[in-house]
């Protein structure tokens, strides 16, 4: 306590905002350097050796603890920052990029420590919702494996050295007018970065700027460009579409704008009573997706035949009288009679839904398919109604050719100094010729990234990049709306962001991203009322009136005809007996950028329910042909490149399609992501996402164990179990067609017969105060996993690692049950989120010997962690199996910095106690306290559970069931409302709304 002004660090609150200038002290640096040593998280329990050493060490510690006085210095809020009330979180608006996608977000900030990400309701792309990826970014922010200091040739150096070098690069390049200088960046939509990119080009006229993105929307944009001759991007209004045809597009989860799409889709699908109608979704796809699960009619078709299918559809539509001049070019497909009943009925349905339909194709379909789809949409008068086109001129999409050009220029020596800006080409281009070999030719290479990843390790220089949550920036949404990214915290590791790097490269005098962003905004919104508009933009998270006007882009038929002439799509006869390889982004790690995010790694894939791994998905018939079973490793070779990947047999998979996922097999991701799964980029980087030629598949004889959270050990394939599941599905997952529902609105009542329900005990009185309840509308739940991550983030749910998942010990409070219904090869897929049902007559409460789980007066099935002794009897007696036991002290190895992502309002549970969904009791209590402080009654909507808050389709409704006017009471009155396993008189407070299908009566679903 000798230098009062430099007092800083208490180990659990080091990063307060007011510590701005303290980050330069020596103490801070040693703290940052020593606090997070390298090493892996050992979640597998202890080996004998480490057991013994730990035992010794902790005995020693136990002895020391007695004589240890706290030596950390604490920092008081001598002058409290405005607006901060300790214990009351503040919420700030910001935005996060994902490729060309923008997520408008709100961030919960506890005394300068961001802890949770939610969607911003003012943002047109988010509408208050956030995907699993977006929400998991909070964990990414506190990743201890993020790069913390610059490095040269793998040796960490001081910032001054790098900054001096950076200045040198700038001045050298200026001297040569940028000759030999190149930047490789990802696609971006930041107006400031766009402006700086232009300045970069004027400052360094001979320099090059390449863009590269593994998961690319290039095909979509290129297809539209060919059809319309304009650089446009689509924005969909699914809320206006009655009939939707998805051609291999997972628009509800992994495609661009999925959150918005899902919200719109659900809006048009939600049914309140039997008078309502709903949209109809046709999905044509090769491998089961979340979107395929929502389909009313799903056709499994090899992805390579989707083009032919689209062409046949064009032919049929034209036959039905739609004006489609392009038909002459695709006449050959029309004569094929490819799935003709499907084509005919879909075409008829679309014809009757002009202006109210959407045809959408997946990003891995070639540009010709997208061009054709644009033609169909225009002919159906959907453009301007359900689909809008916006200009892409203000954003920077990626150019797939760039990476190959860059490689050539590196080999030829034309690029001498390469700056890799927030990209990881060494990983995403690991095919032959590998980017690594090209990179070695550069005299100077600089990697600017959040991690010292594969590229960072290969470059001469590496410098850390700030996380979007700790930097200033801006993003433009596809409809042109602009969001400002505002930092929530000082950069944890003193890193700089992309704007700062580029602006200082242009002019070393530029220092602050803040002023750069403001400068951009002065040019966009003008100088009038700049301060107030700027403040409003920061507050709202979206710049007022920044939305663009949709472009009238009409199809240029001659161009379109030229684009699809010459039968560009394979014919069924051509691909018969051929394998087809489809490579798609992972629903957890995307293209690999989320590899080191434990929440996402442990998040079960929505369809396969695999965690901590990727697999090659095959149909059962192909597996039989190759003589493989689940977890057998296959070697897949394409043009000399091969990978070895374990098999996962997928129901609903096209017979000869092999589906792979990007984003795994990292070597420099960090302690979480290293060595998880298989890197499929060697096949992808040269051949793209859809490969139908020269594929060789062979069995290696090895086995790789996969951690699946459902169907453990192939239980579903065992006939006894499979039959039992099919038999109980009508009771646990109730559904009907719209027609059946109208004929029999109370069909849910008839699913199960049971005797009168009588309780063994006197039932508590639930007639006073608010009584909490929830409904989950199975008709709109897509199974996107956003709720699971919201719950994990809100409730400090630990990750347990692959070995624990293999043992069946994952901790998610809210799991998504996925069932296949019907024929294994062509099933219906259904999703059912199951968390604690908060039974009024809870079987768990009755059996707890110590009364650790009891009922609160407001109807919550509460857990007193302190009282729990861990008999696990409650879990055994829970018919829903939603209780989660802390088999180990799962948070023991949580790095100090990751603890900052924890919600301070929620206990971190200790080893040996049971935990489960609480209906976000901390939010309930906060709502109660707030209303009490404001001297008013609680109102409907005051309390929103985390899962409800983020659900993109608003499937989850939570509130007071005693209030007859609350949203949840109104939903519970609907006739589709049923209690899961209600026949056991558990009286669950969570109930489900039965799913409805809207099949085309003229189309029989079989294939």
């Amino acid at each position: 306590m000798t230098e009062p002004k430099k007092l800083t660090l208490s180990s659990n609150r080091p990063y307060w905002r007011s510590m701005n200038d303290l980050s330069q002290t020596k103490e801070f640096r040693t703290f940052v350097e020593n606090e997070f040593p390298e090493g892996t998280v050992d979640l597998d329990g202890l080996s004998r050796r480490s057991f013994l050493s730990l035992m010794g060490a902790s005995l020693a510690l136990a002895g020391l603890a007695g004589c240890r006085r706290p030596v950390e210095k604490i920092l008081p809020y001598v002058a409290a920052p405005e607006d901060i009330l300790p214990g009351i979180p503040l919420t700030y608006a910001s935005a996060l990029p994902l490729g060309l996608d923008t997520a408008g977000i709100l961030i919960e900030n506890h005394e300068g420590r961001p802890t949770k990400i939610e969607g911003n309701d003012l943002h047109p792309g988010s509408r208050g919702k956030a995907s699993a990826w977006t929400q998991a970014e909070i964990l990414g922010l506190y990743d201890p494996d993020r790069s913390q200091r610059p490095a040269r040739f793998g040796q960490e150096t001081r910032w001054e050295e790098f900054l001096a070098y950076w200045k040198q690069v700038s001045s050298d390049a200026k001297a040569k007018q940028g000759e030999g200088l190149a930047i490789l960046s990802g696609s971006f939509t930041s107006p400031t970065l766009r402006r700086l990119q232009a300045e970069f080009k004027t400052t360094f006229p001979k320099a090059r700027w390449y863009t590269h993105e593994a998961v690319s929307d290039h095909n979509i944009l290129a297809g539209l460009r060919r059809a319309t001759r304009k650089p446009v991007q689509p924005v969909y209004h699914f809320e206006k579409a009655d009939v939707i045809l998805s051609l291999d597009s997972d628009f509800l989860l992994t495609e661009r704008d999925a959150v918005r799409n899902a919200a719109g889709f659900a809006q048009r699908r939600r049914v309140e009573n039997e008078q309502d109608d709903m949209n109809r979704l046709y999905v044509v796809e090769s491998s089961m997706s979340v979107t395929g699960g929502m389909a009313d009619h799903r056709l499994r078709l090899p992805s390579s035949l989707v083009g032919a299918f689209a062409a046949a559809l064009v032919y049929r539509l034209q036959f039905l009288g739609l004006e489609l001049p392009v038909v002459e070019a695709v006449m050959d497909y029309g004569h094929l009679k490819l799935n003709s009943d499907w084509v005919n009925e879909i075409a008829t349905d679309l014809m009757f839904s002009q202006k109210r339909s959407i045809v959408i194709a997946g990003r891995h379909q070639p540009p010709e398919v997208h061009a054709l789809v644009a033609g169909i949409n225009e002919a159906l008068y959907n453009i301007g109604e359900t689909i809008e086109y916006y200009s892409t001129e203000d954003i920077q999409p990626d150019r797939p050719a760039d990476i190959h050009d860059l490689q050539e220029h590196l080999f030829s020596g034309a690029v001498d100094t390469l700056i890799c800006l927030d990209v990881n080409p060494v990983y995403t281009n690991s095919g032959t010729p590998s980017f690594l070999s090209a990179l070695r030719k550069a005299n100077h290479s600089i990697h600017l990234g959040m991690y010292r990843d594969e590229t960072g390790a290969a470059c001469e220089w590496h410098a850390p990049l700030a996380h979007p949550l700790e930097s200033w920036g801006d993003l433009r949404y596809s409809d042109g709306s602009i969001s400002i990214i505002q930092p929530q915290i000082q950069p944890l590791f003193g890193a700089k962001n992309a704007i700062e790097y580029v602006s200082t490269l242009i002019d070393p005098a530029n220092v602050s991203a803040y002023s750069e962003v403001q400068k951009t905004f002065r040019s966009i919104i003008g100088k009038n009322n700049f301060e107030s508009r700027w403040k409003k933009a920061l507050h709202d998270g979206i710049v007022d009136r920044s939305k663009s006007v949709p472009i009238r882009a009409t199809i240029k038929h001659p161009r379109l005809i030229a684009a699809v002439r010459g039968n560009p799509f394979p014919f069924p006869a051509q691909i018969k007996d051929r394998y087809e390889l489809v490579i798609r982004p992972s629903a957890s790690t995307y293209d690999g950028r989320f590899s080191n995010n434990g929440w996402l790694q442990e998040l079960p894939d929505p369809v396969t329910k695999l965690t901590w791994d990727n697999a090659v998905l095959l149909s059962r018939s192909l597996a039989e042909e190759l003589d493989v079973e689940n977890q057998d490793v296959l070697r897949i070779t394409v043009k000399g490149e091969s990978i070895e990947c374990p098999v996962w047999i997928m129901p609903g998979q096209a017979d000869r399609t092999l589906t792979l996922e990007l984003g795994f097999g990292r070597t420099h991701a960090g302690r979480i992501g290293n060595g998880v799964g298989v890197n499929v980029y060697p096949l992808f980087s040269q051949n793209g996402a859809l490969i139908s030629r020269k594929i060789r598949v062979e069995k290696t004889g090895e086995i790789r164990i996969l951690a699946c959270t459902q169907d453990h050990h192939g239980l579903d394939t065992e006939k006894l179990a499979a039959d039992a599941i099919q038999k109980r599905l009508p009771a646990i997952y109730r559904e009907a067609t719209l027609e059946e529902y109208r004929a029999n609105p109370d069909f849910v009542e008839e699913a199960v017969e049971h005797p009168p329900l009588k309780s063994l005990w006197d039932e508590p009185d639930y007639s006073q105060g608010p009584q909490w309840g929830m409904t989950i509308d199975l008709n709109v739940c897509t199974g996107c996993n956003a709720c699971t991550i919201a719950c994990q983030s809100e409730n400090n749910i630990p990750i347990v690692g692959k070995s624990q998942v293999l043992k069946g010990r994952e901790m998610h409070w809210l799991r998504l049950d996925r069932y296949y219904k019907g024929d294994f090869d062509n099933p219906e897929m259904v999703m059912e989120p199951v968390g604690c049902q908060q039974c009024e007559n809870a079987p768990c409460e009755q059996v707890c010997p110590v009364g650790a789980t009891t009922h609160t007066p407001d109807g919550l099935n509460a857990m007193a962690y302190n009282r729990c002794v861990g008999t696990r009897y409650c879990s055994n007696n829970c018919p829903y199996k939603v209780r989660r036991f802390n088999f180990f002290n799962y948070t023991k190895d949580t790095p100090e910095i990751v603890k900052m992502a924890m919600n301070p309002d929620v206990t971190v549970r200790f080893r040996g106690v049971m935990e489960k969904c609480t209906y976000c009791v901390q939010r309930i209590n906060r709502g109660k306290i707030t209303s009490k402080n404001e001297h008013r009654d609680l109102m409907d909507g005051d309390i929103i559970s985390a899962c409800q808050q983020t659900c993109p389709t608003d499937a989850i409704v939570f509130g007071d069931i005693r209030d007859p006017n609350s949203a949840v009471s109104r939903v519970k009155k609907q006739n589709r409302n049923y209690a899961l396993l209600g026949e056991f008189n558990t009286k669950p407070r969570t109930t489900y709304l039965a799913r409805l299908h809207n099949p085309n009566p003229r189309l029989k679903t079989e294939s």
Partner: protein, 467 residues
């Protein structure tokens, strides 16, 4: 010591009350034969066996230590299967104990005088089995250090245990059972402890047995009080034989889990417990009989009677299995029906059929007198029944949990090395205690055996009957 004993019975009588004890024993020979075992030099074999038992006990300490250090996760449990080997072992060990109480209490009340030869070590077996049993619920909970939350003591938390929970009933049932069994066993020991005290040659033995004998002098009034106390304790123990396992079964029966939620469980569990208990008494008795040459005290008639009890209880168990299946089908409840079909044909079918073979098929051989009186076959059968009854508890506990209502939660449970080590280690605890008992306490109730000798009833001549 062994030399003093007659090694063989020359001729075999039909079992009658009078020749319960063979070999022309007198009060003195009984005292001499039994007491000398505790007084003589410790045999090398004992050291060998005890060393093995203590090694296993160390395995138990090691595996429990590892468990306490790391957490319940070292076992193979998972989310649907919250109870595994620990609970299986608990129920199994409690079941084992039942035979001891049945022999000492119920057979006492029923004046089955043949029990005197086996009751002492059967009771000891009960005690040690219950100690082993009590170990498991203690260590299987997630936070053993707060196990006192079970105790209904007023506390600063103002929280009371939940009396609706069968686990709490269990806690009291097994606790009472242990206490009463201990008292009963100790009361029965007092005259024999006094005998040992009187024979003691060293100061340590004098002091120890002197203290333990509680001043027993063998006077008439003492005998009168003693007999009353023994009778009262027998009366107290008798309902416990039925209640303890009924309560243990309600851990399962009161739950909602398909395959557990069955009203047949209490009688079925009690029958199973007595069945397994007798199997264990046979296993241990046959060994002790052989090692200590007690063939004249534990005769073939005793073995024959025990085999008959096993035949009865084994058949009751078999009937229960069949009835469970029938009711599962008859209920029309698909979850219940599946639970049983899954037991027989699902992933745990192997365990189910081991159980059926050991528990249903094996005892049927006891219809044959030759088998009932064949020491080798009886020993083999008793081991099989012990195994079968362990698997019964495994099948009930694990198969039901592994596949209950929602298929998404289904999972397969398999034990880890630590589950196995803990179970194996519990035998170490059992045998360590049991061997100490054999070495230091009279394994046969001398006073009671003397009571069934012809000399104890001078009105009757040898070979006569009551009537």
């Amino acid at each position: 010591m062994a030399e003093a004993l007659p090694l063989k019975n020359e001729k075999m009588h039909v079992a009658t009350e009078a020749d319960l004890i063979t070999g022309n024993q007198t009060f003195h020979t009984i005292t001499e034969n039994i007491s000398s075992i505790t007084e003589g030099k410790t045999p090398k074999l004992w050291f060998l066996l005890w060393g093995m038992a203590v090694s296993l006990l160390l395995v138990l300490f090691g595996s429990v230590g590892f468990l306490v250090w790391n957490g319940t996760g070292v076992w193979g449990l998972n989310n649907p299967v919250g109870w595994g080997w620990a609970i299986v072992n608990f129920v199994w060990w409690v079941g084992i104990g039942h035979a001891g109480t049945l022999i000492s209490a119920i057979l006492f009340l029923l004046r089955q005088r043949w029990r005197t030869s086996i009751n002492r070590f059967a009771e000891a077996m009960t005690l040690f089995a219950v100690i082993c049993a009590l170990l498991f619920p203690g260590i299987h909970i997630g936070r053993m250090w707060v196990i006192y939350y079970f105790f209904p003591v007023p506390n600063q938390m103002g929280v009371w245990p939940n009396f609706r929970s069968p686990l709490l009933w269990d806690f009291f049932a097994v606790g009472t059972y242990f206490t009463v069994s201990l008292l009963f066993w100790y009361t029965g020991l007092i005259p024999d402890l006094a005998t040992l005290r009187d024979r003691a040659k060293t100061r340590l033995r004098k002091l120890t047995f002197g203290a333990l004998a509680l001043g027993w002098r063998g006077g008439n009034r003492q005998w009168q009080h003693y007999e009353i106390a023994y009778l009262v304790l027998a009366g107290l123990s008798t309902p416990l034989v039925l209640s303890v396992h009924s309560v243990v079964s309600s851990d399962f029966a009161t739950s909602i889990v398909p395959g557990w939620h069955t009203t047949i469980f209490p009688p079925y569990f009690v029958a199973g417990a007595i069945y397994s208990g007798f199997a264990m008494v046979l296993t241990l008795g046959l060994i002790a009989r052989k090692v200590y040459h007690l063939e004249h005290i534990i005769t073939l008639n005793h073995l024959d009677k025990m085999a008959k009890i096993m035949l009865v209880t084994g058949s009751m168990v078999g009937y229960s299995y069949a009835m469970e299946f029938f009711i599962a089908w008859y209920s029309g409840n698909q979850y219940e029906a599946f639970a049983f079909i899954n037991r027989a044909f699902g992933p745990y079918a192997w365990a189910y059929w081991i159980m059926i073979f050991c528990n249903v098929i094996v005892p049927q051989f006891f219809w044959f007198k030759k088998i009932r009186r064949s020491v080798g076959l009886l020993f083999f059968a008793s081991i099989l029944v012990n195994i079968g009854m362990w698997f019964e508890r495994f099948v009930i506990t694990v198969t039901s949990l592994s596949r209950d209502y929602l298929p998404s939660a289904w999972d397969y449970y398999s034990p880890t090395i630590w589950d196995i080590a803990t179970f194996v280690g519990s035998f170490g605890l059992f045998f360590t205690l049991f061997l100490l008992f054999l070495r230091f306490l009279p394994m046969i109730a001398m006073a009671e055996v003397k009571g069934v000798l012809p000399q104890a009833d001078p009105h009757y001549t040898a070979g006569g009957t009551h009537e």
